[in-house]
């Protein structure tokens, strides 16, 4: 009986999540009257604005990932190694982007870095891109930090660091050749999550007036019928691809050696 309830709950859950996706996918295939076709997809993929905004968001995602790794890996490593008592505080700070809306952050940015401020980042396209990348990195921080911190938990950071130091390695070598390779799977998990966030983000890109994929999706959704559904399916596919890649790299992770009791 218990089993039946469990299967029932699972079935209802699947219906709740899968039905809208099935409906949306089906709708995206109905552009041609009376038959299923990929017309909406062809139209979206052939749109130069799609290519432009998607490429822009991919490049931004790559920069955000690189910046996130450079910021989070040394920070999480240093906190674990030298100031473990500060961990709860750091965790709290990294969780803030979950409770502070993106619109608040971006208004703060605009207020601080506008053309009449001491650091007028919004005055140029490059400056605004840099600002947007910082914003994306902030939004991805809770996921990136947790992923890296969990990865660091699986290795004996202190002893590995001391072993490398006793062999003559400096901080740069230790981070690049010992710590990063051993948390690479965690970093990649964080990177894929960051990628998914950046690809779909709307608020920051729209308010900073950058040609990103999120605002393009919104624009298309406001003016077309079938194309937004096709775009949503494409967007979902990218996210799922990221999730699948996380699973694959997790399985390829180097196994930790047996530890003494």
């Amino acid at each position: 009986m218990k089993r039946l309830w469990a299967w029932g709950a699972l079935f209802l859950g699947l219906l709740y999540f899968v039905l809208p996706l099935v409906g949306m996918t089906e709708f995206s295939l109905k552009m041609r009257r009376g038959e299923y076709s990929f017309d909406a997809y062809a139209k979206v993929l052939g749109d130069p604005r799609f290519q432009e905004t998607f490429s822009y968001s991919v490049v931004m995602a790559l920069f955000t990932i690189a910046f996130g790794v450079l910021l989070v890996v040394p920070t999480a490593y240093w906190v674990r190694l030298k100031v473990p008592r500060a961990r709860p505080w750091i965790e709290f700070v990294t969780l803030l982007p979950l409770v502070i809306p993106a619109i608040v952050i971006v208004f703060g940015y605009i207020r601080l870095y506008n053309t009449s401020s001491w650091l007028p980042l919004t005055g140029t396209a490059t400056g605004t891109n840099v600002l947007l990348m910082f914003g994306y990195a902030t939004l991805a921080l809770p996921y990136m930090y947790r992923a890296v911190d969990t990865g660091l938990r699986t290795i004996d950071v202190g002893t590995l660091t001391e072993a490398a130091q006793s062999l003559g390695a400096g901080w740069g070598t230790i981070l690049a050749r010992i710590i990063l390779p051993n948390v690479l799977v965690a970093v990649l998990s964080g990177a894929f999550l960051t990628f998914a966030i950046v690809i779909g983000e709307f608020t920051m890109a729209a308010l900073l007036n950058r040609p990103a994929f999120g605002p393009y999706m919104q624009l298309l959704g406001a003016n077309r019928a079938y194309e937004p559904a096709a775009l949503a399916v494409i967007s979902f596919s990218i996210t799922w691809l990221c999730m699948g890649l996380i699973q694959i790299v997790s399985r390829l992770a180097p196994k930790p050696p047996s530890q003494p009791n």
């Binding site: 072993a163 130091q165 006793s166 062999l167 003559g168 051993n182 180097p254 530890q259």
Partner: protein, 354 residues
């Protein structure tokens, strides 16, 4: 002792208000194997970590090969270290682990390969270069860790309880292997352990530590047979303690509950009536009369433990119970509990602890 290679001078280490090492002095000769022996929390690992550079002394100096390294960073000291937890890099193969220090030092590929091969042959794992640490047993991992520490030809080798995590059989064989390698390479070595058998069996000298201080420094024979303090006597080996009082200080006589013992010249500065503890190793006592023994006390068998080749017998003597070991003999059954017996020993084997 020849000129010292490692000099630890008046080193003190405090963490906040807690002093964990105080006024620690030690001179280690080139090629010497010195063990730090003591219970948990005695400061032995802290001293080792200060030599390695992972902790900075609050005061004092550490000199290696004539150079003051007290303020140098660990990666500037050229000191090899083996850890209790192996600490092999999981993402690198055995060969890459062993060659890590050489690569960091900027050595050429061919030279690294040659040195790695030499090191793997030294630890008798020549075929294991391509394996990853998780594919090795604990003993093999620790041998690789030893090879990795030795590969860059360090000035000094530090071993932080490297055998503690291994099972008994591997521990003994690896212990002998470490000592053999150390002797062959002639590398000055500091070995931290809480296992007295380990320390006694492989060290040139032992530093017995307690409460952040060196209680006694000496060769294993000296530490075991001539402990200078009560702590050393109790910590190293099994010890029988007979409590007594000085009955005639001038003649060196001590009164025990079971009789009087003469210890001429061994009670200097004692006063009549002063309490004194006399300690004796189990192997110095014999059941019945031993040839050459000058002291005999009457007692009763209190307990018998059959341990295979050895039988540990406990004998109640006066108010004390002393342990002694006899070899098992198939033709002579062990003594029975309650049976009256005499024990004998040489008074010169007694350690006077005051």
């Amino acid at each position: 002792m020849s000129e010292s290679f490692l000099s630890i001078r008046s080193v003190r280490k405090a963490f906040g208000a807690t002093t964990v090492v105080q006024d620690f002095n030690l001179e280690v000769a080139p090629g010497e194997f010195v063990s730090f022996l003591g219970p948990s929390g005695c400061g032995k690992t802290t001293v080792l970590r200060m030599v390695a550079g992972f902790e900075t002394p609050t005061s004092g100096a550490i000199v290696v090969a004539g150079k003051d390294v007290t303020r140098l960073r660990p990666n500037q000291r050229n000191i090899g270290m083996v850890f209790q937890a192996y600490a092999l890099f999981p993402n690198l193969t055995v060969a890459q682990n062993v060659g890590f220090g050489l690569k960091v030092a900027g050595m050429g590929r061919a030279d690294i390969d040659a040195r790695v091969k030499e090191m793997l042959a030294l630890i008798k794992l020549p075929e294991f270069g391509d394996r990853y640490p998780y594919q090795l047993s604990g003993g093999q991992q620790q041998r690789v860790a030893l090879a990795r520490a030795l590969a860059p030809k360090p000035k000094l080798l530090l071993l932080d309880e490297p055998l503690s995590a291994l099972d008994a059989k591997v521990r003994v064989s690896l212990r002998d292997e470490i000592r053999l390698i150390q002797k062959n390479l002639g590398i000055t070595t500091i070995f931290v352990t809480h296992d007295q058998e380990e320390a006694l069996s492989i060290s040139d000298r032992i530093v017995v530590m307690y409460g952040g201080k060196a209680e006694q420094v000496g060769a294993p024979f000296e530490i075991y047979n001539r402990p200078r303090t009560k702590f050393v006597a109790n910590f190293v080996g099994t010890l029988n303690v007979l409590e007594g009082t000085v009955s005639d200080a001038a003649a060196g006589k001590v009164a025990l509950a079971s009789g009087e013992i003469a210890l001429p010249g061994r009670l200097d500065g004692a006063r009549n009536g002063e309490a004194v503890s006399l300690a004796l190793r189990p192997e110095a006592i014999a059941l019945g009369q031993r040839a050459g023994a000058d002291t005999r006390l009457a007692g009763k068998i209190a307990d018998v433990h059959f341990l295979g080749s050895v039988i540990r017998v406990k004998v109640a003597v006066g108010g004390s119970v002393v342990s002694l070991d006899t070899f098992n003999s198939p033709s002579a059954p062990p003594p029975e509990i309650g049976q009256p017996t005499d024990i004998s020993f040489s008074a010169s084997d007694l350690l006077v602890l005051r």
